[in-house]
Structure formats: C-alpha cells, structure tokens
C-alpha cells in the first residue's frame, strides 16, 4: 500500500517542463516553477501560509500565465478565500465571473462522518473536480487541505487507494496541481501524503524567536530538477508571498575597476586618492556619536553630485532629522531629495521582523535603482534575529547588492571600543572596505579617530587619523604622533604649537647666522679696503721717491755734461741712464 507512485517513464533526467508560480522568489529557488502537469505537495503547520501560497499559485497562474485554475477547498470558508485573493489585489468574484478561477467547496463533516453501509469510492470528488476543470478549461488545480478528507470517512485504506487514483488522474490529465497538507510529527505530513506525491515537496515553517516570527520555505525534493536546498525566509505582505533570496546568492558578480569618492576629500586620499571601488561593500563601524552617520551622508551626497542615485535606509533617525543634522555640517540634502537623486527611507526596526525589512530593502532597491545604498545602522537589523539567521540574511543582501553593481555602505554601532559584535565578525569576510571610527578619551576630552581596518584591492593608508566634524563638513587632520600614538585634540594642538615654536627658533638662528656671515664679510672687506688704501699710499710714496731719485740722477748727469761742455770734454751717450729714466 505504502509504495510511492513514481512513474519513471514520464520523468526525464533533465529539462523537465515547469510551471511558473509567479510567487516572487519561489520560481528562482525552483529554477522556473513547479513541475508542469504534476502534483506538488506544500506542507506545513497551521497558519504558515499554505492556503495563501496555493491560492497565489492559482491566481497568478490565471492572470500572469493565462492558465485558469480550480481551487478545491476542503477547509476555508468562502469569506476567507475571498480575503486571501483580495490581499493579492484581485477580486475572487470577478475572477470567477471571468472564468479564470473556480472555487469548489468540499465540506467534510468531521464531527459526524457519514455511516458507511458498504463499498464506495470517491467518484463524486472526481466528477466535481472534472466538472470544475471543464467549466473553465483549467490548467492548474489547488487542493486545500487534502487530508481533511480522512476526517470525513472511516475507511482509511480505501481513502489511500482513492488518493493514489486521484494523483494518477491528475498526472494523466497533465494538470499542474498544488496540494496542501498538514505537517506531521514524524513523517513529513500527518497522513503521509508525501508517499503519493513524489515529484515536488515544499515545506513551509513558521517559527518565533525573540517574539518576532519568521516564516521559512524549503524545497524538500524536486524530482528531475536542480533546486535551492536551503531554508529560505519568506513573508506575506500586501503583494502576497515573497521568498528571499530574490535572485542572488551566487559569487559571480562583476568586479569594477571604477572608483567612487568617499565624499570626503582627505578620506579619498587614504584610498590612493580615489575612494572606494564601485560595487564594493563598505562597513563603517564605531561607537555611539563617533560620526558614522555623517560619513555615510557625505558618501551618499557625493553620489548625488556625480548624478547618481542614492538610497538611504535610516532605522534610527527621521529624514528631517538627518537633513537638519547634515545642514549643521554644511551639507544640504534637500536639493538632492527634490531632484530625485536621494531617497531617505526611515522606519523603526521594531515595526517589522528582520525578513520583512530585508524584503523591503530588496523591493525599494529594485524600484529606485540606486547606485549607492546606505543602511544606517545595520546593527538595528542584526539585533532582531539570532546570529546565524542574521548572517545568512546579510550574506544574501550583500550578494544581491553586489549583483546589482551597487556600492553599499553599512553603518554599524559597536558597543564598547575594541569589541566587535558577533555579527560584524560574521560578515567581516564579506566586507570589502572596513572603516573603523572611534572616540578616544584622553586629556579629559573626547576626540574622533578614524582608520581603515581593511580595504581589498586598495593600497590604503594605515594611519590612524583624527577628524573633526565642523560646520563645513568633515576634516581629516594632519597627523601628529605623540608619545602615546596619534595625538588628538588639545594634545595635537600642543604638539602643533610646539612645532611652531621650534620652527620659529630655527628661523631665528638661521637669520642670526646669516647676519653674522654678512658682518664677517663686511669686516673682511673693510680690512681689504684698509690694506688697499695703505698699499696705495705706500705705492704713491715710493713712486714719488723713485721720481725724486730719477730726477736727481738726471740732474747730476746734466750738471756733469754742462760742466764737461763748459770744459769742452768729450760727451758720451747717456747709455743706461735712459733706462733708468723709466724706473
């Protein structure tokens, strides 16, 4: 009896035909949808969304894929079903009138099962199903909740035989069918229906942790097809069911060479003067009041200035508060908001569960198509679930943003300086650039410090920098290294002053030496001048003496010649004496 109904000849090892459900995310996990023309089992506990999923499968099939569907309802009353359909944005009555969806109610009187007076079968069920299918030309059927039937009839063996017949009947007609079933304690479903539906089994789950409930979905098996095997969180909101991840979770995103500015010129300098890589993931972590939000806002404003779009998720401050605070730093966000470059979406983290936030982020990103996304702070989200869960969510979110080529900045509040939150540890390997901001308390004052903890692919500065938040933005200060590391605040000012006075002293010394040199030169020159003057006077004296001597000599000679002439003596030439003249 309990043999599975595998029908191997209709199952091909690859390329089986699939029917898209139209449910966001589910078709991605199943790589195309549910097995076409075959039954799929959706099982889960009470209130986990089975009926809605079955109905969404039908409604979306009818509207998006032109496949009318029959809803075979064993449990819900018409009012509830109509409400489900209207929650998807459609009117059940209108769908029924236009023959897109037909609902067939099968009331099983569990309290008062009909007396069995002999042999019977469930021919009535088949006839009704066939009739409903024929009346609208249905290609899809949802049966909710099939095992209710066990409450209406005593003969379980016969019921099981009839279910086998039902599933064969469905396969023979090639109707894509979804069957919902209650989750059991031991086996997958309470009545072991998975034994009959061997093609595809989807498990839904609804767990509550820290008073926040999380719905999860898992494809338990999918014969003949590859499928995601993880537990995927899903949520039910005004658009029906959305399963995460929407499309990502692979590591094939493109790495960009392009760089994007941090929005703070001197911070850009710490990243080779160019800023972050486009499409990278940046974590700005720090203690309270250390300036994380300001850094994030300058980053998103820089994107707006470049003509890109920035999407800012604020979980702690309202948009108007952010705008006011940034105005005090000389950053006016209003023009960017007005021209549609910047969108600030603020919500309290506690209004939704973690997965609803993440789905919301997905949706907003897909709608707004930003190049920059800021999540401020991420720690508000991570406080909402257990570490494992949060990490897997963040991994998917980061993968998603990377796959879209979005440069993402996560702001994270740290408890005490130096300590790291477990979630930060968990995602640190996913972070490309990690900027740590912190307060230091020294000299009875607090100052802000910033350093780049890591930055993949960038020869980043390893210096710890002090920065000031002033009325004209964020300034990174020059580096002054004091006896105990980088000097900040007043000790930096003191070092600056000391350096100034040292400079002054040096300048004075240099000036003094220059003056001294000048003086010495002047002394030397004066001495030279005096020597020259002395020489010149001596030269003059000597020349005068020489003249005298020459004159005297000539006089003597002339006198002698005159005397000789008078004595009529022989007069010789003035040999040698003419030379002496020139002396």
């Amino acid at each position: 009896m309990l043999q599975t109904l595998a029908n191997p000849k209709t199952i091909t090892s690859s390329g089986i035909h699939k029917s898209p459900t139209g449910i966001e995310g589910l078709d991605a996990i199943t790589l195309g949808g549910l097995p076409a023309g075959r039954p799929t089992l959706i099982c889960g506990g009470a209130g986990c969304g089975k009926t809605l999923m079955a109905m969404e499968f039908l409604v979306r099939g009818a509207i998006q894929y032109g496949e009318p569907g029959v809803f075979l309802a064993f449990e819900e009353n018409p009012v509830d079903l109509a409400r489900y359909v209207s929650s998807l944005g459609y009117d059940l009555e209108a769908l029924e009138r236009s023959k897109k969806v037909s609902v067939e109610y099968l009331k099983v009187d569990r309290a008062n099962p009909a007396e069995v007076t002999g042999e019977f079968d469930l021919g009535g069920l088949f006839i009704r199903l066939q009739h409903a299918i024929d009346s609208i030309g249905a290609k899809r059927v949802a049966i909710d909740t099939l095992e209710t039937i066990f409450g209406g009839f005593d003969n379980e063996a016969l019921l099981r035989a009839e279910l086998v017949r039902l599933f064969d009947w469905i396969k023979d007609r090639g109707i894509t069918t979804v069957i919902t079933a209650e989750k059991g304690d031991g086996p997958i479903t309470r009545k072991g229906l998975e034994e009959y539906v061997s093609d595809c089994v989807i498990m839904l789950d609804h767990r509550t942790a820290n008073q926040i409930s999380t719905r999860r979905l898992r494809v338990l098996k999918y014969r003949g097809s590859v499928h995601g095997t993880n537990e995927y969180p899903f949520l039910i909101d005004e658009n029906g069911i959305s399963v995460l991840p929407i499309s990502s979770a692979s590591l094939d995103h493109q790495a960009y060479e392009e760089r994007v500015s941090t929005g703070i010129p001197r911070l850009d300098n710490m990243f080779e003067g160019k800023g972050y890589y486009r499409g990278s993931t940046i974590l700005v972590s720090g203690t309270a009041g250390s300036g994380k939000t300001s850094i994030a806002n300058f980053f998103s404003a820089a994107a707006c200035k470049r003509g890109e779009r920035a999407l800012y998720f604020a979980f702690e401050e309202s948009p108007s508060q952010i705008k006011r605070n940034m105005r005090s730093l000389g950053l006016d966000l209003q023009p960017w908001i007005d021209n549609g470059a910047l969108r600030i979406l603020a919500s309290r983290p506690t209004v939704h569960g973690l997965e609803l936030h993440l789905v919301n982020i997905h949706k907003q990103v897909e709608r707004f198509k930003p190049s920059i996304v800021v999540i401020d702070p991420m720690s508000s989200l991570t406080a909402m679930g257990d570490v494992m869960e949060v990490n897997s969510m963040l991994v998917r979110l980061i993968d998603f943003l990377k796959s879209q080529g979005i440069t993402a900045m996560f702001v994270s509040l740290m408890g005490s300086p130096g300590s790291m939150e477990s979630t930060e540890l968990g995602i640190s390997s996913l972070i490309d650039t990690w900027i740590q901001v912190k307060d230091t308390e020294f000299n009875s004052e607090r100052n802000r410090l910033l350093y780049v903890l890591k930055s993949r692919g960038i020869a980043h500065s390893n210096q710890i920098r002090e920065f000031l938040i002033t009325s004209h933005g964020i300034d990174l200060m020059d580096v002054y290294v004091g006896p105990s590391g980088v000097a900040t605040g007043s000790s930096r000012l003191a070092l600056e002053a000391r350096e100034k006075s040292q400079n002054l002293q040096l300048e004075q010394e240099i000036t003094g030496m220059r003056l001294d040199l000048e003086r010495r030169r002047k002394v030397m020159e004066a001495r030279l001048a005096a020597l020259d003057a002395e020489f010149k006077s001596e030269e003059q004296e000597l020349k005068r003496l020489i003249e005298q001597k020459v004159a005297h000599h000539r006089q003597t000679f002339e006198d002698r010649r005159d005397m000789a002439r008078s004595r009529r003596a022989d007069i010789g030439p003035l040999n040698g004496s003419s030379k002496g003249n020139s002396i």
Partner: protein, 109 residues
Amino acid sequence: MNPGGGAIKASPEASTTRETFLFRLYIAGRTQRSMAALDNLNRLCEERLQGRYSVEIIDLLEDPKRARADQIMAIPTLVRSAPAPFAKVIGDLSNGERVLTGLKIGKAL
C-alpha cells in the same frame, strides 16, 4: 429524533413517521455498485417504509452540477432529504442495519 423511540402508534413520533420519506441516491453511471445500491435501497424501503417513500436517482455523470448541493464526494451516497433531520449514508447500502442507523430511521418502523 429519539433514537430509542417507542413503537406505539399513538405516540407523536408515530405521526411523523407517517410522512413520506424523500431520498436522493447519487450514483456515477450505471455501475455494478450503483445498481447494487439501488436494489438494496428498494428492498429496504419495501420492508420498512412501504408506500411512504420516494427515491430520486441522480447520475452525476449526466448532471455533475448537482453534486454541489448535497456535498457529494463518495459514490454511492444516499441522502434523506425529508422529513427532518437531514441524513446521509455512503456505500452500496448492503448493510441494512447501518443504513437505518445512518438515516436515523427507527427499528420499529
């Protein structure tokens, strides 16, 4: 209805039992089981409700829409539509005791 009801003709119950019973027998085609159910029903009625019953046979293969009204899933199904209370039994009606119990018809009839 009083299941252990008295069999005295003068009792008020007896007056209700004088009403005509209306039955609907749902079948799907003239199968062996359907025919057996019809035979069993006729025999039982002749034994217990002579002249005070009427049976409508509904073949769902011919008129599938009618399955909705009485919420028919099992074939065959016999419905007691009058007098009150409404009652339903399933199967080929071969177990007469169960038919009577299921249809809430007293033994003494």
